[in-house]
């Protein structure tokens, strides 16, 4: 048997390893091996491609260019992935996602450039190429903006200007029309300067990706990252159609499905549609800020506490629920939190963690942060499991979480977050909130929880505040 005929079989094996890799993620015990199996499948597929007749027909130049690309890209990916801090994970994922999107867009461009001169291509293939180009380019520039926002290079807040929706629509419409024209021209229905139109579509898609992500604020990033992940997957699948490569179709579609499912889960967790997240970023209405003295119109006051008092409360509690949020990630307080939890448990206090689906900046962000601090994953409870526990909790300790604990989501119909599923923190007997200031959260609204008579505010950086709590618990 010729080696070349084996290549499709190897691609099939690779496709199977990808499915197994994703299947492994159904539990933490099988996940590590699953990921390695998928990586091995990938290596096998790339190695097999070197023996492809088409690839070999390119001769030494193709081989040299490819090997150089693999060495440069592999080194960059490896070094980046090894050096990145765990807290910078969301932006790293965005960066790698953008790289994949960019690669898919380039493959589509190259394929179009190859086919434009010849008659061998159909409109279907040209259309797939245009799709791959557009989706890949949107994913590339969108991920770059998401990276910038998460890294703090660009303002993480929603960026808005007058006529924004109009400009975005023009970019989107123009891109689609030009792509359709180019596809028709391949079929011979219209005559356009093809290379020029191709370039224009690429540029419009890049601009549209920027316009799409710029108005989206930091707290909506879990939705955006999942969506861009799905985009890259679909761009890869489209490239698979053009190249008649089933492995690309399978891999791209699997990723597209995973990204789509995560996107839907994330928007459901915020009780907002994907369109609302993308185009209706809230937080534009200025909220009345409550000062540190905490006196608001209706006479209720914010009660500040000291680390010593809060520590005493925790030390003599029986059930404590810790509610982590983005503030914990920013302050990198996960190790201190683990220390506090260990200390409390050694005193016989029962400690669990309540994880809201959209806490943090990417799906599962809190889980991965706390796992880094060796918190056993059995202690991490998701929203549906933990909410019935709050009435039985003596103390709920909220660390850097805001909007996901706001009771207004349940009660106040006029609130922008009304209907969003929240953690029922206010049902605990006592609530301690660690927060840097009284500034409202991303949604730009005040949190009634802070005015609740059983809530005590411990102002300060999450890491320092938790460290003080640890010292306080040791002393009591």
């Amino acid at each position: 048997m010729d080696l070349h005929t084996l290549i499709p079989v190897i691609y099939l094996i690779a496709a199977i390893t990808f499915v197994l890799g994703l299947k492994g993620l159904s539990g933490p015990k099988t996940a590590v091996n699953g990921n390695r199996i998928a990586a091995a499948g990938m290596l096998l597929a790339v190695a097999a491609t070197f023996f492809d007749i088409e690839f070999q027909s390119y001769g030494v130049t193709g081989l040299v260019v490819t090997l150089a690309g693999i060495i440069v890209g592999g080194a960059a990916g490896f070094v980046g992935a090894r050096l990145v801090k765990m807290t910078a994970m969301p932006q790293m994922v965005a960066l790698f996602n953008g790289a994949g999107g960019g690669s898919a867009a380039l493959v589509s461009i190259l394929e179009l450039m190859r086919s434009l001169g010849t008659d061998g291509r159909t409109m279907g293939q040209a259309g797939s190429s245009m799709l791959g180009l557009m989706i890949g380019a949107i994913s590339f520039s969108g991920s770059a903006i998401a990276f910038g926002k998460l890294q703090g290079l660009i303002t993480p807040r929603s960026f808005k200007y007058a006529g924004q929706q109009f400009v975005t629509s023009i970019l989107f419409g123009g891109m689609l029309i030009l792509a359709a024209l180019l596809t028709l021209s391949v079929g011979g229905y219209v005559a356009v300067p093809q290379l020029l139109v191709l370039t224009a579509v690429a540029i419009l898609a890049l601009l549209f990706g920027i316009a799409l992500v710029m108005p989206i604020g930091g707290a909506d990033m879990p939705v955006v990252i999942s969506l861009l992940n799905a985009f890259t997957g679909l761009a890869v699948a489209a490239a698979g159609f053009v190249l008649d490569n089933q492995l690309l179709i399978v891999a791209g579609t699997l990723v597209g499905a995973s990204g789509t499912i995560l996107t839907r889960l994330m928007s459901k967790a915020m009780n907002r549609s994907i369109a609302n997240v993308l185009f209706g970023a809230f937080g534009s209405a200025p909220a009345a800020e409550v000062g540190m003295t905490g006196r608001v119109d209706d006479g209720r006051t914010v009660r500040a506490t000291t680390a010593e008092d809060a520590a005493t409360l925790l030390a003599y509690a029986r059930n404590v629920i810790i509610v982590p949020g983005y503030g914990l990630a920013v302050a990198q307080a996960q190790h201190n939190v683990r220390e506090l939890a260990d200390l409390l448990e050694s005193r016989g206090v029962n400690v669990v963690y309540a994880i809201h689906p959209v806490a943090g900046r990417m799906p599962g962000h809190m889980n991965v942060l706390l796992a880094e601090a060796n918190v056993p994953y059995e202690k991490l409870m998701d929203m549906d499991a933990v909410n019935p526990e709050f009435p039985r909790a003596d103390v709920a300790l909220v660390i850097g979480a805001n909007d996901v604990t706001n009771p207004a989501a349940r009660s106040s119909k006029g609130s922008p977050i009304y209907g969003m599923p929240i953690l029922d923190v206010d049902k605990a007997a006592q609530v301690i909130v660690i927060k840097r200031s009284m500034k409202p959260g991303f949604a730009g609204i005040d949190n009634d929880l802070y005015l609740d008579p059983k809530t005590q505010m411990l102002f300060g950086d999450a890491k320092e505040a938790v460290a003080k709590l640890v010292a306080g618990v040791k002393a009591s």
Partner: protein, 101 residues
């Protein structure tokens, strides 16, 4: 519609079902590694990049092809390594509490 396109569509539709089936079983604890692992998998575009890279020829084709391979490989390698690092943190450690095998 060509036979290849139909085969492609079959593969596409069936992969959607497989993807849905497999991914809906992933617990929320592992959503970050899921995203990152899926991220690595779409790096398979690197074989697409290899297959078209030199086909166009000329300096422009080679430059774009080189860039496509670089980006694709960075996606694959970075994605798998980051996912591996994440998953290493989910391993049970002695003394970490919780049930042991």
């Amino acid at each position: 519609m060509s036979a290849e396109a139909i085969v492609g569509l079959y593969v596409f539709v069936l992969a959607i079902f497989v993807g849905n089936e497999v991914i809906s079983k992933v617990p929320s604890t592992l959503h970050t590694p899921l995203m990152s692992g899926a991220n690595a998998i779409h790096g398979i575009i690197v074989i697409g990049a290899m297959l078209v890279s030199a086909a166009v020829g000329g300096p422009l084709g080679l430059a774009l092809g080189f860039l496509a391979v670089v980006l694709g490989t960075a996606n694959v390698v970075g994605g798998f390594v980051v996912t591996d690092r994440m998953l290493a943190m989910f391993k049970q450690r002695p003394g970490a509490g919780g049930p042991k095998k």
